[in-house]
Symmetry: C3
Subunit: 428 residues, 3 copies
Amino acid sequence: MSDALRRRLFDQLHSLTIVDPHTHINPHAPASTTLVDILGYHYYTELAHSAGMPKANIEEPGLDPKEKTRRIISGLGPIENTIQYSWFIEIAREFFGFQEELVTTKNWEPIYDAAQKKMASPTWADDVLKQSKLEAVFLTNDFDDPLAGFDTKKYVPCFRTDDLVFHLGKSEVRARLDKATQSSVGSAAQLKTAIGKLFQHFKKNGARACAISIPPDFAPTKIELASAETAFAAVLKEGVNAPVERRRELSNFVFWTLAEYCVEFKLPFDLMIGVNRAVYPTGVFQGMDLYDSRVSLIQYKELFNAFPQVTFPISVLASVTNQELASYAWIFPNVVTNGHWWYSNTPTFIEHDSAARMEAVPRTKQVGYYSDMYKLEFALPKFAMYKRILAKILAERYVVDRGWSEERAVAFGTEILRDNTRRIFYAD
Amino acid sequence: MSDALRRRLFDQLHSLTIVDPHTHINPHAPASTTLVDILGYHYYTELAHSAGMPKANIEEPGLDPKEKTRRIISGLGPIENTIQYSWFIEIAREFFGFQEELVTTKNWEPIYDAAQKKMASPTWADDVLKQSKLEAVFLTNDFDDPLAGFDTKKYVPCFRTDDLVFHLGKSEVRARLDKATQSSVGSAAQLKTAIGKLFQHFKKNGARACAISIPPDFAPTKIELASAETAFAAVLKEGVNAPVERRRELSNFVFWTLAEYCVEFKLPFDLMIGVNRAVYPTGVFQGMDLYDSRVSLIQYKELFNAFPQVTFPISVLASVTNQELASYAWIFPNVVTNGHWWYSNTPTFIEHDSAARMEAVPRTKQVGYYSDMYKLEFALPKFAMYKRILAKILAERYVVDRGWSEERAVAFGTEILRDNTRRIFYAD
Amino acid sequence: MSDALRRRLFDQLHSLTIVDPHTHINPHAPASTTLVDILGYHYYTELAHSAGMPKANIEEPGLDPKEKTRRIISGLGPIENTIQYSWFIEIAREFFGFQEELVTTKNWEPIYDAAQKKMASPTWADDVLKQSKLEAVFLTNDFDDPLAGFDTKKYVPCFRTDDLVFHLGKSEVRARLDKATQSSVGSAAQLKTAIGKLFQHFKKNGARACAISIPPDFAPTKIELASAETAFAAVLKEGVNAPVERRRELSNFVFWTLAEYCVEFKLPFDLMIGVNRAVYPTGVFQGMDLYDSRVSLIQYKELFNAFPQVTFPISVLASVTNQELASYAWIFPNVVTNGHWWYSNTPTFIEHDSAARMEAVPRTKQVGYYSDMYKLEFALPKFAMYKRILAKILAERYVVDRGWSEERAVAFGTEILRDNTRRIFYAD
């Protein structure tokens, strides 16, 4: 009974056309060109590396895509259990006609060839969007991205601000800022003006969010301009070697400035909280970051209170922070729950975390899922994973436990999966 | 099979007459007089506010109850998914004959009118108690509550001590203390004596517990009288502006004094651990508090060791602290698990937390649930929610997974739900 | 359907002969001689004590085993709900022909007598191993254990190092070290040499792991020899009263030295992270330890990066640390998930924690379970508990949710339960 119920709910949710509110898609090359674009995703390289494959095997310079694909596949045996592996199988099946259970060094070539053929089509990216029922995907754009040469309705710009908040000590970042804003930023006041120009640029080009990922020890606070000037002077002089306290003040000044512009430009500010970068510095590309789960949203108390006009869609890296997220979204009108991020994007955590949000956060304040993908082919299996879990929760905890009709359950799921993304990111 | 099993277990648990060991009931007005007493519960106002309803709409002074009810109902649409909303629907159905799934601005008036009629009955409070199968409810009494004019067997006094421990810096609190104890408290020694008088007063009037809610950073420790005198002198002189260290010492002195009197007066000391007050100071009434989940029961090590004669029924605000609670109750004879508090009082957390306690804490040391209600009508849906989860756990984890008989499962549930409250709070 | 599926998967997993990779078995007396060896396990004494049995009842000197058994049984009523109690019942049934549901003061004597008779057999330990399908069990050996007089293939030595890392301040520990290494350790350099001798001794005698349990506030870091000399001198002079900073440096020096020898001697280094010792110092024997769950694997960042050649099978005491463990094992090639330790060794936590690991950690890097037992009779019920949960996860999350064949699910379970122990601990 419950299995059939889950299937029925899934089928209805799966029929919806949606917007993916957070990805790392390159709008100039949104889809893969060979299978290595799929298997080069850090989940495969880092898991294969964790299971024993030498980094050099994967990252050898000048490696032919087909050879690299073969090598990665030869290292996937030990990760066949993982949910990430299942995404790959679902891609192979849904897009490339694969019909077996496992991809091995014996049966991979036909997939590679089939993929290459399909990916060669000039309509491939649109084909993938269509098959995946995606009408738009949000991007992650560097602050100096020209945002030109692509359809910003389909590939929606988002202003990613990590570099500005955390890396102004690097001279190359400051040089990029100068160039992007056609200015010479020599003071905190000028920095503020320059950031305003970036907002204008992004807003003019259809940006729908400002976004940032944040380490666990950051606690935003307002910095007065005078202190910011001192801090910026220190950073200009000593760069990344400036005293940690000065750098922290500058980070806070920039962060607060971003929030202020989010008011002015009516942009939600996506906070992705909890990542420590380069914990494993000799890991594979993009497979070096981890976290300290001892973080609290109490660190954002001052921010949430200071900016009631800004919506903060929040992702937390660790499932142990999810209850705080649900509680803060239940109390603060400007806090919204946003997807299941990275190390929490696996079924056991998604199920526990979603279920907790669904029963305590207003239904209009939950953005259920984003794919976080680098290539379009991943939206389908990642969203499908989420929708299966969503259907399971709706079946077990709403239809069975609470006696809801299936219609009502699907309507709730539809809001979380589809409608709230429009409601929150397209509010103005 | 499992659904039918769950229902059978629920039906048996639901037939029990119980004591509710923690509420905020006003014994002089225990039940609601109009529907606004139900919908004015902070869960509805804060969730509706979080979903977009302006605070002024709800808190406009002099608002007519019916108009306020209409306004709140008009803001409930976005929270129809929440478990709190389901409590309201269950109240409307069980007490007021409502038969639909959702209460809206179109169908609410008949409920309002039906409620008003029923609530006008002089026996309404007793009717609710009877229908809810409650024989007694524990109160939350200010330290200066006269405890007069009500049946203390039915409405059982509890000595709430937050003001004494955390707010002696406020002159009005000290004035209330002087008045209540007919003394002039000018020293720590006199403070101790005065608190003793309060214990006498509460004990004489049938109090069954001393209780307090505690912020996450508090770690009780013994303070010698000499230090307490210095601390109290500083607080007398500077009030809430006394140095934080002095205020903390005074808090500790009072806290420790309470525990000492709990020995003398044979009262359990309910600790509700983990709340930060006024995190969102512009929120609606009672909708401002949140928490930092980084708290540990190791902070209570000294206390638990120092007072083996005192039973500490403990509630934790965050589910991530629940494993510690279960472990400490498994090791310390004087630690008891107590209910599912506030932000952890939603089904996903109750299920995870209860299941963990049930399999590792002696069955005699688990107080399953309390309603925390302000009006009597809430006991029914809140306890029903808990009993459904309890029945689910007993069905799945005991009858199915461990092969227990249904009889044995019900007996275990009965202890958690009913018997331990008597065992622990009526021990002397 | 799902129940039958779970049973089929369990039956296949239950048929495997396995190695238990962590126990506290005394190889000279591996099995029990009377029922008191079973019921004297700290789980029973501490839970009975927590539920009200005075410590003196249990720990009265010179108590007759049968009388002590009777006393403990008389205190088990309040813990009949616990999973630990179910282990005892399963032992009584599987080994001693007990057929009832509960052991009470009325029916215990036949079990006692049956046990005594069976335990008197000279083949009892081997009988238990055989019935429990165990081919070997890992030990926990003090650093000065002679490792003589037993079959080290069946009872596999492990070098337990808590005393060296955390207790060198005690003169008796240093005396034991001098004796075991036939040296007079008077400097950090000599300490390093002495530890090398211990590794030689253990490796020569078939040790398969170095192991340690660690308090939550420890964060290993490399200490230069010069600093270590200063630290060791302070500890030699002042013992356990040496400044905490010096003692911490010495701990770090020894810890790092152990890791260095693990490279040289090709031994995995089991880390059991998170225990606070003697939180309840007046508790029963072995029933005094608890924890502060605020710990992070980020504390081990330097260690994991410094020793890529060492495999670290890691156990965490609190379930809230499990996601970090899964994530670190997903990224770091040298981090392996290891069992379900102590306060996390109860079904609700095992289920949540295993499920999370199984879907995100390479299948080759998960050591599913160890018994942690002191007497051989406990392997059977503890592993059976784990296997039931493993079968449940495989049934629900792999066969049902992900469409795996039962064969594939069993193969995955077999690796976690059996193969990885060989793969990881018998690698050289």
